[in-house]
Amino acid sequence: MRIGVFICHCGSNIGGTVDCAKVAALAATFPDVVYATDPMYTCAEPGQAAIEEAIKNYQLDGVVVASCSPRMHEPTFRRTVERAGLNRYMFEMANIREHVSWIGKDIEANTNKAAELVKMAVAKLRNNKALHAASFDVNKKVLVIGGGVAGIQAALDCAEGGIPVVLVEREATIGGKMAKLDKTFPTVDCSACILGPKMVDVAQSPNITTYAYSEIESISGYVGNFTVTIRKKTTYVDWSKCTGCGACTEKCPSKKTPDAFNEVTGLTTAITIAFPQAIPKKAVINAQHCKKLLTGKCGVCAKTCPTGAINYEMKDELVTETVGAIVAATGYDLVDWTQYEQYGGGRYPDVITSLQYERLLSASGPTGGHIVRPSDGKEPKNVVFIQCVGSRDRSIGRPYCSGFCCMYTAKQAVLTKDHMPDSQSYVFYMDIRANGKLYDEFQRRAVEEYGTEYIRGRVSKIYPDGKGHLIVKGADTLLGQAVEVEADLVVLAVGVEAAKGAARLAEKLRISYDSYGFFMESHVKLKPVETNTAGVYLAGVCQGVKDIPASVAQGSAAAAKVLSLFSKDKLQSDPQISQVDIKRCIACGKCVQTCPFGAIELFDFRGQQKARVIETVCQGCGLCTATCPQGAIQLAHFTDNQILAEVDALCQC
């Protein structure tokens, strides 16, 4: 075998603490190495050209590059050797940046370690074989999970690109949080007016099938060929008959049902349509409050419904869809702020959340857009906003910034003055994060034009003074003194956390999530839309806090990823998968049990049971190879021989 070795300086990243020329000189002495050099930037165009040249000039049949992490450039260099006519698996990479130069300062020790890693890579390469990818068909249909603004945007862009979309939303209507907002910063335009048309487009698009009031039951398969089971939760209303006329909601006698869409700022009926612009505009019965379902007596809605859509016997239904790609867009929920006992722990009716306040501001909310105190229905005069409740607070395990609360608090202060010119708003803040386009200007307007009093400091206590007011007690850290504000209404800018059940969904999707439940992108900077599972993409707050413009942008970005994936008719499967040597297999079935992807099955081979790997399902994790007591399973490109050759090389150093 004729091997060429390239020891990259990566500018001074590696060259600064590794003697690259020396490593190259040492590499030249390793078995089968016929050429070794130390370029400045191997990944740059001249660097890659030099590899191609060397392959031709020295008739190389394998290449080792010692540089950065394979996660960064392995695909790059595989393409390079391929262009020069080699099989892409006749290439090995040694990571001498993240594993050597960035973590050690001792040049001599670094140089020795780099040489050892290169020696291992050479030893492995000597055992490599050309591998060939099989190709398979792509099912050009996409699943979008979550119908907030991010999911809606992803669905619309895919549909526009001619791709059939399956949109699964857990609530009765799509729209997510944005549907609950009154107006939106920084332009203060009506949320429903800008989101509504997009929701209608979803309903009217021939390419989009929406399953509302539904959740993902299970997902199997792989990029290009996922099979998804969707649980359509019981609505007790046959949606194929329901016209959304609303007659049932007018007649339902159970009028004390907490209104979830209005963030329980108001009451509704047991049978509801979330809001007038709901998509789909269909009724759902809340089983916890329906007299008929609870006691067997009532049935008013069934009698009222002109189309006979009510069905008290209805059960959950499972449907199966097959898709080639998935966009997760499950958004967020608010932190449970009632753990703040110093703010009353939820006992004071006039301490409410920012999202509840949006519903009070909204003309379609429970009060028709009049701001009133929940306790006595009176208009408040002093409104106090407290930012960072459940954000940037290590004591409750929420150290991160929720990103958009500074801005929506400024918006809510502005709207408060618009609604009630005689009112006075106060905002307790830690510092103001207004770093978007037009954001700082907007926040300044809240102060300068709307006379909002901004007080820099934390609130230590909210308590009723016994005379109908709430006393908000805190520190003014700019003046260095304690302050007390007499409030009629207190609005908490409650922090954001991942949507309920996000972790469970991530496990079904086989994607990673962080300790707060946010889904992990493939690379924080360079792959913010991809996940580490091929064919699964992210959009909106499920990946990390972001406001509406950023959520929409990521929705479109996810759609672009899907469209580019679907631009190919066939995908190449990764040949780095397991293979069973049936001569050794004793059909013990251990691998079948171990494989987390269900990629191994037992089959009948001339009257004998044997295991075999389903090529398209295997993810190449290697668990089975370590499990098999017979050593009958080998993972291509990571065979026992290849790994032992590396170990041998290391032991000889």
Partner: protein, 298 residues
């Protein structure tokens, strides 16, 4: 050897009524303590304001005597002593700190120091509100009260983690409800009364205690119930000063929780030190006795 009792300096002076009633209530419940011989002041605010080591040395000396007696736990009625004793034990986990304290003590202190608990927590954990209710002979009928813990009983959160939510403890409420009182949720139950600033900065304490009294009075209660000698003094003895600071006149009796429990247990009022309260408890006692009588007629 089980629980060793550390009274704290106030018990021997300004809060002898707290001490008396604590003993009476514990006796009635059958909770026995071994007295700590030759105890000394925990150092209170002056010590820890001067030096952490000095404060710890004073506390550790007490814990060390208890340890040598084989005590499992130390009990104290006073939240400030509680806080100093607990903090000292925690700080002694650090070897360098322990070395400095041992140097001040002129000898190596016991490797294992016992943990300190408030008498209130011990009553609650050992007997629970059900047993307490069982023990009640003259329920606190017709009395509407609010519980005031002061800022130290439940904090700092990490060293008082076994006392419920630091901002909203519920132990005293449970005990008094078990005694038959109507207990309102007092939002300022853990706010600071001004503590020892009553001496160097009288106005500050008057303002802070004034806020507490004003809110309590607005809630229409008959009495405020305290658990700390210093808080009780600021709210009771200094009630006039606090009233002046608020431009109000207060007349709110401030009991120790042990006095209230003692009343409910049918202990003689003279054994509870009620005569030491500055704001007269008379109206409360009258209301209670009237309610009890009414109950008898029923």
């Amino acid at each position: 050897m089980s629980i060793v009792y550390y009274p704290g300096c106030s018990a021997a002076g300004t809060s002898s009524d707290y001490e008396k009633s604590t003993q009476a209530v514990c006796d009635a419940l059958g909770m026995s303590f071994t007295p700590l011989p030759d105890w000394n002041c925990c150092g209170s605010t002056p010590a820890h304001a001067t030096s952490t080591e000095l404060s710890a040395a004073l506390s550790v000396r007490n814990l060390d005597i208890a340890a040598k007696m084989g005590a499992e736990k130390v009990a104290t009625p006073c939240p400030s002593c509680l806080s100093n004793l607990r903090l000292a034990k925690k700080r002694m986990e650090k070897p360098e700190f322990r070395a400095r304290v041992d140097e001040l003590l002129d000898e190596a202190s016991s490797a294992e120091l016992p943990q300190t608990y408030s008498v209130m927590q011990l009553i609650y954990e050992k007997y629970g509100s059900e047993f307490v209710a069982h023990r009640v002979q003259r329920p606190l009928k017709g009395l509407k009260v609010a519980c005031y813990y002061g800022c130290l009983m439940s904090r700092p959160a990490d060293i008082m983690a076994d006392f419920g939510h630091p901002e909203n403890p519920q132990v005293m409420e449970s005990l008094l409800r078990a005694c038959g009182a109507e207990v309102v949720e007092f939002p300022l139950k853990t706010e600071c009364c001004g503590a020892s600033h009553g001496i160097p900065e009288r106005q500050l304490t008057a303002n802070l205690s004034g806020k507490i009294l004003e809110t309590a009075q607005n809630m229409g209660i008959d009495a405020l119930v305290a658990a700390c000698p210093l808080c009780q003094m600021n709210l009771d003895l200094r009630q006039k000063q606090a009233g002046k600071a608020m431009g109000k006149e207060f007349a709110l009796p401030v009991f120790y929780y042990t006095q209230m429990m003692g009343m409910a247990f049918g202990i003689k009022l003279s054994a509870l030190g009620l005569n030491k309260l500055v704001v007269s408890p008379e109206p409360v006692l009258k209301k209670w006795q009237a309610a009890l009588k009414e109950g008898v007629c029923e």
